[in-house]
């Protein structure tokens, strides 16, 4: 029961008030930790979030963000090499097609073909040239995403997490 002060009728409770002050301190600490985590990129857009996956045997490499936010745009930067005919194939796994809205691809592909395992894009370039392709995506589903990107015979798999 809250102790009533002697003269003034007041629902003052010092024991509770001390607990509340402790909670205030904890909240302050938690907010500082959250801010630090945000700066470091635990919620996306920072050093902890930037990641890269590559195939040691090829020139196929993807720069991506580990942590994304629902509805907030993110960019995949793909490094690949065109084949001897100057053609470059890039396939996006079905999970990516389902869980991301594709906002744009730079440079634009020559063709896009939908298949049971996702979308395959074809780009034309100089034979054997190293090409950088940027894909802007917006997550439209929350939670963990197992993304797959393929080029020629190689495939890269990586995991991203989409915050609500």
């Amino acid at each position: 029961m809250p102790a009533k002060a002697n003269v003034i009728e007041l629902e003052q409770d010092l024991a509770f008030q001390k607990r509340e002050w402790r909670v205030n301190l904890l909240t302050w600490f938690a907010l500082l930790v959250m801010m630090a985590a945000c700066v470091l990129g635990l919620f996306g857009h920072g050093p902890l979030s930037s990641a890269e996956v590559s195939e040691p045997s090829s020139f196929f490499r993807v720069e991506y963000e580990r942590f994304l936010r629902y509805g907030s745009a993110s960019r995949l930067r793909i490094h690949a090499r065109a084949d001897a005919t100057g053609s470059l194939r890039l396939s996006l796994g079905q999970t990516m097609v389902e869980r991301f809205e594709l906002r744009g691809i730079t440079p634009g592909p020559d063709t896009a073909e939908a298949g049971p395992n996702g979308i395959e894009y074809r780009f034309a370039g100089a034979p054997g040239a190293d090409v950088v392709i940027e894909i802007d995506v917006v997550p439209i589903a929350r939670g963990s995403v197992h993304a797959r990107l393929g080029s020629a015979d190689s495939e890269l798999a990586f995991r991203q997490f989409v915050y609500p």
């Binding site: 003052q12 509770f16 008030q17 509340e20 302050w28 509805g71």
Partner: protein, 146 residues
Amino acid sequence: MDTVFRALAIYVILLFVLRGSGKRSLSQITTFDFVLLLILGEATQQALIGDDFSVTTGILLIGSLVGIDMTLAFLKDQSALLHRWLEGTPLIIVDHGAPLTDRMQRSHVDESDILAAARERHGLERMDQIKYAVLERSGGISIIPS
């Protein structure tokens, strides 16, 4: 479905952050507190509606927020403990003209705040004219003159 969960998430987060930050944080005492409140409102709005500007979403959001608030009010009536945690308790910070400095420090109140409240509401000039100053649940300071 999404709208209700958004409303619930934002309501709960705001409740935790604002209650957790103490009585004085957003009691609109200073100009900056007021500005902070406006910015919070703006940030909250974006998270609540996203890019859906339909009237239906607006109606659902208003209904959800008021519904959550009414449910919480009901639960507070049922549980004194919950009521205390959600609303806080008042605290005496000046007792017969003597400032209780430890309580004031921990509540982020200084003597000038108390004297300002005493001047504004009762035209008092000095601390010894104050019988009690109470830091209310709302974060405001009420003065009982001696």
